[in-house]
Subunit: 492 residues, 2 copies
């Protein structure tokens, strides 16, 4: 049930809401981040950037509109399609693979042909779910949005993924940034897909944020020294309906992952989500079967999380081989090989394709809690849209003035100040937004220069000296110390 | 000449470069930020966010694709057009207003009719600049990119400016964020315009970054207390071909600016660019004449900067009145009034429409310097893509090890480490990228735990104790102390 609750909080508190909502005819699949949503998204992206510093990643930011040549080469023009049917009677359009899956309860293999779909429709006796009408023939609908550029209308498309620019720009940035292989390149930005049936708010949108990490490597290289850090890290592999935890070291020894570099990035991304506050026990890495993989993928894993909407794919981890550089090299006529020491090599690519919006939705879903009469988002400080509240207990008796003094000590912190409404209402309001700590200035503060510090999750409070606040808050917000530990210390 | 030099450095160092450049047929007007460009852009946006905290701004992040209803209401569908002609002979298409301006040396008024243009073409005897051919009739070309959404192809457009979402979302975010008027809302993101002739790289692109600040206010309100800060700030008004500096206080007294709120934001934005490192003497605020203003604008100013490409418009400052909320209210049927105290009011809007890419290009242009044999970007620390270099003088004798020790003290700083090439080449390389300070570890460092600290602009060096580095660098990078002052202090 938390998905519906999250939607309510998101609307009530302006985390996210439907785009162009004033106009009832606005198409589905477009959403806006409100003020708190923007901050949560920024937190996510900045934490990813910070973690990627460990592997010396570089970042680019390219155009969303790209010419048809790019997608001819990548084969999106031909292959980035969904099979659809139209009801002859009510004219409703459906993804036929989804209808077949619903009827049979079994997954439909990727890349079936038109005739194969039509055979299945006949065999399974599939009709329009709305009016029981019969379907037109199966068509393949390309999910890219076409955009005509210039007065003469040059055929271009909105990128359906951010990674193509990384492949196109790779050789330039590799050179100008004086890199060696392996070389990690990130791009964060919007991608666009004309989904047949967008659904579940941030989960399947037509315009969405991706962070794609492309790791360019020499396929001959077996070693990847940063792996040391993760040797004993436990990967959560999904197999035969359950999770099996296995150390990176062992997974490599068993050849369950094909090399150290790929093992590193699988551990990296699982660990990243754990550090963001995703409960470890709800994460899994699922190795894709042959008929599930993209056609260019040599090895593919999905990092998934169990939410109230079921398992959600957060990250597609693909060993794309040399597919991308090869096709762009062929289509453009440019040599995209680079030097790796003395060797000229066309790098292979391991990709982490991260869905930002669905990560945020999943985290909100998992962070939502009900505690008696209050609802809260139990976000880690790093993901909280605001880190602190400062409240005078009442808006009189000199308490607001004292509170302003406290604020002046908090210039380096991200806080909100509010004096309206009862203190209880204020606590509850910011619990819903996920603010981890609240500082309250009361009458005692005027006497002994102390304030109360309240923990969102436990609602427990401790008294601390105003002058010690910055130091204490720094430790709490960086999770160097927990509220409980702090409480223990202060009570000693 | 610095524009061409900036283009060269931008390509050589990966600051920005042409999009999809592998494919020669790629359309003009699309550019990519490379790794250093991404950081410069982030610096710009983050500094803007920081400064806007002073007025308690909130930020939203909405969809780029919006339905036709939005642009019917805003009148973009009807009015967001450029007048074009096609050469009957060579089929080249031109913006006819630009051709007339080139021929006559005089600005063509906005919103001329088809017949008026055709009269001017005849009178000024304007022919195709390429082949001297005659022109077809004048047409009006809409600059929005159309995008068809869904299987049935609902008519939508890529937003030509970011602000429409702010108007549409205003009432919701105003309420959920419990705001009062005036209320400042920011959006940063891509906008898209199908320019007839994109040119000068980041100056006129078809896909570009905007930061739009919409200030919603009650038109009856005369006072805006934050103005105190800027009372004696000198606005640089452009008039009759020269700049006249006038204090905010005086400009208000003379009624040269219509109210305190508008005066505040004019000062705010001029000051913002000064703090970013734009030379004050190259900035001007130009009040637009009646025939230059957008049709909805009650009062309009352009903040412009003098670069090697001439005067560049950085920010359009528009008093949009209640135009936007009124049209969206009318077209959607929703009441967009909000409460201001006891009064129900349809807010007016003052807008700062900031061109991010052109701001960056202008700053690079103005920061480019030649000093004997070296070229440098004299960026302020706040805008520098990297803040520090750490160089061992040579890659032997234990200097790299010592340098790593230094690095371990610099964890909170943004630095690059490099040991290849002569020290001179390394200095020059990062001078071009605009890195303000370089730390060099030499043989003396091994003896006395000191390093040299080099200033990019003067190339002067001072010796500082390693353990004092963090504290010294913090002051230098925040501009709390200048390198010269520091040198003076240390030499005492």
């Amino acid at each position: 049930m938390s998905y519906e609750e999250v939607l309510k909080i998101a609307a009530r508190r302006g985390i996210f809401f439907k785009s162009s909502e004033l106009y009832p005819n606005s198409p589905a699949g477009f959403w806006e981040y409100g003020p708190y949503g923007v901050r949560i998204k920024e937190n996510f992206v900045n934490f990813l950037r910070k973690k990627l510093k460990e592997v010396d990643a570089i970042e680019i930011d390219g155009a969303c509109i790209m010419p048809k040549e790019v997608f001819e080469a990548s084969s999106h023009l031909k292959n980035f399609v969904d099979p659809i049917v139209e009801c002859k009677q009510c004219k409703q359009v459906y993804r036929i693979d989804k209808l077949i899956e619903e009827k049979t309860g079994k997954p439909v293999p990727e890349r079936l042909k038109k005739e194969e779909f039509e055979k299945l429709i006949k065999r399974e006796k599939i009709r329009c779910p709305k009016c029981k009408g019969q379907f037109s023939e199966v068509k393949f609908f390309n999910l890219m949005f076409r955009v005509d550029v210039g007065v003469k209308g040059q055929e271009c498309y909105l990128r359906p993924e951010t990674c193509q620019a990384i492949f196109l720009d790779f050789k330039r940035v590799f050179k100008v940034m004086r890199r060696k292989l392996p070389c990690v390149v990130l791009q964060v930005g919007k991608s666009f897909r004309n989904e047949i049936s967008p659904r579940q708010s941030l989960l399947r949108m037509r315009e969405f944020y991706q962070a794609e990490v492309e790791v360019f490597f020499n396929p001959k290289t077996k070693k990847f020294p940063p792996i040391e850090k993760f040797k004993s890290f436990k990967l959560r592999f999904w197999e035969d309906g359950k999770v099996r935890e296995i150390s990176v070291e062992k997974a490599l020894k068993n050849k369950e992952v094909s090399n150290e570099l790929i093992a590193f990035f699988l551990a990296f991304i699982q660990n990243f989500y754990e550090e963001l506050g995703f409960p470890r026990e709800k994460l899994r890495l699922r190795k894709l079967k042959e008929n599930e993989k993209a056609f260019y993928a040599k090895e593919a894993w999905d990092l998934e999380v169990l939410t109230s909407l079921g398992w959600v794919e957060l990250v597609a981890c693909n060993n794309r081989g040399d597919y991308d550089l090869k096709v762009h090299s062929k289509h453009s006529g440019e040599d995209l090989e680079v030097m790796d020491g003395e060797e000229k090599v066309l790098p292979h690519v391991f990709e982490l394709s991260i869905g930002i919006d669905r990560s945020i939705l999943s985290l909100l879903d998992l962070s939502f809690k009900v505690d008696k009469s209050r609802k809260l988002l139990s976000l880690k400080p790093i993901m909280a849209p605001v880190k602190l509240c400062v409240f005078p207990l009442v808006a009189k008796d000199g308490l607001p003035e004292k509170a302003k003094e406290v604020c002046s000590l908090l210039e380096d912190f991200d806080y909100v100040y509010e004096e309206k409404d009862s203190i209880g209402r204020r606590y509850y309001r910011y619990d819903e937004i996920g603010v981890p700590f609240a500082i309250t200035i009361d009458h005692q503060s005027l006497e002994d220069d102390t304030v109360t510090l309240r923990d969102r999750d436990s609602t427990e409070q401790i008294r601390v000296k105003i002058k010690e606040l910055p130091q204490i808050l720094k430790k709490l917000l960086s999770c160097e110390v927990s509220f409980e530990e702090l409480k223990g210390k202060l009570e000693k």
